[in-house]
């Protein structure tokens, strides 16, 4: 019966290379061929792979006639299974090839035959049908419930592995942040996510990266203890809300509160936190390292039941790595030698400034407006103002992280200054609000202020 057919996963003991499998193929002229294959490799629920080490009849046959039939024995019972296969393609690089190759090399080196056993390719076959062979043995089958599938990697685990590997390659904080949101989306389906960093002296969190929102909201702030994200931050614990009520939507809450307490002017200086209009499920996970809050990872979904324990677990694991990565990459103070000043296309256009941009600094709250529109404030605001005035007064356009750290007016703390994240924040806000003026990386610890427009500066000192 169709439903009684074993699944490929059920055959996991057969894929361990304990008992060789018989593989029959057929040449185009109709001559059958059969050979023992030391190991058939499980690829996924509908594919297997066979190692191709030597040019042989099997290799030639399946390229003429892709049909093949494997007979495998379960080493625990010696029960037999037939797999009807269709040769699909051959891989000579990639994850599958590498893992098969490494295994073969290890065996070969063990046997002192490194040159003889070399994987040329992994031949991948589609599994068309699996039959348990009846009347083969009197030995009772192992009940399905006793068949552990621990040899097959769960999809989530595999995705986590991929994510960890890729995040581990991040060279800069901005890469790490953007890549982690992209991978959370692509590998796990978290389409709406944001990362906030903690500004503990201010008891605030500010958004440093987001994905899946019409407004990216970088620079938006939320108090520690405020809303779902703020509460989870204060508790240093992951918090999940399913089927949430509208009134709990922290995005709106933060904005409404600002409006209610300080009026329109304050709201103009608030960047709204990214929020999904119909958010029905949210998870906020703290990014903590050695007990210190670094930031928050938050996701949302319009689906009330989208988030369960699985999602909590995945995000908690990702958050752990993210926290370590942020901590590590934020600490990076080494300066590299300046890289060649490659001018971006926009920079080349700077020869003919098309318009002007007026930046205004409000000393009262370290706030910078561009052409009357709120841009940024606090430490990133002071950094921008410093860069703009140095460029005006000294004609400089290249700067280093080190000089900013030495600049007491900026008010960076001596340790854990988050300078890198503040520069990311500033860069992203400028991309959004005044793309004609940019901060361009010039190697590690160095950057340049580039402008395609004439810059005018103004200051307001009164309260």
């Amino acid at each position: 019966m169709e439903n009684d057919r074993p699944r490929l996963e059920d055959l996991w003991p057969c894929f361990q290379g304990i008992i060789p499998a018989a593989l029959s193929t057929c040449a185009q002229d109709g001559t059958p061929n059969i050979t023992f294959i030391s190991q058939i490799y499980y690829v996924d629920a509908s594919h297997v792979a066979i190692s191709h080490q030597f040019f042989n009849k099997t290799h030639r046959n399946v390229r003429e006639n892709p049909s093949a039939c494997a007979m495998m024995l379960d080493p625990r019972t010696l029960r037999a299974y037939r797999l009807y296969l269709r040769y699909q393609h051959s891989e000579s690089s990639g994850v599958l090839f590498d893992s098969m190759s490494l295994q073969l090399q290890a065996i070969a080196s063990h046997a002192g035959m490194t040159d003889v056993f070399r994987l040329r390719a992994a031949d991948v076959y589609e599994v068309l049908q699996i039959d348990g062979v009846e009347g083969f043995t009197r030995f009772p089958p192992v009940p399905v419930s006793e068949r552990p599938s621990r040899l097959f990697v769960d999809q989530d685990l595999e995705s986590l592995r991929l994510m960890t590997e890729r995040l581990n390659r991040s060279e800069a904080l901005s890469d790490l942040l953007d890549r982690s949101l992209q991978l959370l989306d692509e590998l796990f389906g978290f389409h709406h996510a944001m990362i906030l960093l903690a500004d503990e002296p201010q008891a605030k969190l500010f958004t440093i990266a987001s994905r899946g929102y019409p407004e990216h909201g970088v620079g938006s702030e939320i108090g520690i203890g405020e809303g779902l994200i703020g509460m989870a931050a204060r508790a240093r614990r992951a918090l999940r809300l399913s089927a949430i009520d509208h009134s709990l939507r922290y995005a709106r809450a933060a904005r409404d509160r600002a409006q209610a307490t300080a009026g329109l002017e304050a709201v103009c200086r608030e960047i709204p936190l990214p929020g999904l209009a119909g958010a029905a499920g949210q998870i906020a996970v703290p990014l903590v390292i050695r007990g210190r809050l670094i930031g928050m990872l938050a996701v949302e979904s319009a689906e009330p039941l989208a988030f369960m324990c699985r999602e909590d677990t995945i995000l908690t694991i990702v958050a752990t790595q993210l926290a370590t990565g942020i901590d590590h990459l934020s600490r990076d103070t080494e300066e590299s030698s300046p890289s060649a000043a490659v001018k971006s296309p926009a920079a080349r256009a700077a020869r003919r400034p098309a318009c002007r941009r007026t930046f205004c600094f409000f000393h009262r709250d370290d706030c910078v407006f561009v052409d009357g529109e709120y841009l940024i404030r606090n430490v990133p605001g002071r950094i921008l103002w410093r860069l703009l005035t140095r460029q005006r007064d000294e004609g400089r356009s290249e700067f280093t992280n080190r000089e900013l750290r030495m600049d007491s007016w900026l008010g960076l703390p001596d340790i854990k200054d988050n300078l890198e994240s503040r520069l990311i924040l500033l860069r992203k806000r400028m991309e959004q609000k005044c793309p004609e003026v940019r901060l361009v990386t010039r190697g590690r610890g160095r950057f340049a202020l580039e402008a395609d427009v004439t810059i005018e500066l103004a200051e307001k000192k009164e309260t």
Binding site: C26, F54, S67, A68, T77, G135, T137
Partner: protein, 151 residues
């Protein structure tokens, strides 16, 4: 003609796998419960059960083409015979005794490489059909660079 060293190999408790194909060139794999080479070294008899080898028998009756691979589990010495069906008949007393002897030898081989004897003893080797095959070609199949060469 089966060379003497292959003839000897076939009578040492080898694992016997059988490859055939149908009219659409879809291959079929099966296991035989023993192989016996004729004294004239021109043919072999293999033992198949209907239950395990339904499609193999159908293919044999349809086109007669067969590949038989024999491997000695303890040292992987192996060969492949290509041939054509001569006859299919129920196994007789002498065939049953021969197959039982092969089964004992094969169990010894498997036990030597760590397979529990009770598993091998549980195989259902009868009632079998005796399949006589005219051998047309013989190939080396011991793993390694020389595998696939014609003997």
């Amino acid at each position: 003609m089966i060379p003497p060293q292959v003839f000897d190999l076939l009578h040492t408790g080898v694992s016997v796998i059988v490859g055939t194909r149908d009219s659409s060139l879809m291959p079929e794999s099966s296991r035989a419960w023993g192989i016996r080479a004729a004294r004239d070294r021109a043919s072999v008899t293999i033992f198949l059960t209907e239950a395990v080898s339904q499609q193999t028998l159908r293919n044999l009756r349809e086109n007669g083409l067969v590949a038989i691979s024999c491997t000695r589990p303890t040292d992987h010495v192996a060969c492949q015979l290509k041939g054509r069906l001569r006859t299919i008949r129920p196994a007789e007393q002498a065939d049953r005794e021969y197959s039982a002897g092969w089964h004992r030898d094969f169990i010894q081989e498997l036990v030597a490489i760590g397979v529990p004897a009770d598993l091998c003893e549980a195989w259902i080797t009868g009632p079998a059909l005796a399949i006589e095959i005219d051998v047309t070609e013989v190939f080396h199949q011991t793993p390694g660079p020389g595998a696939g060469e014609k003997v």
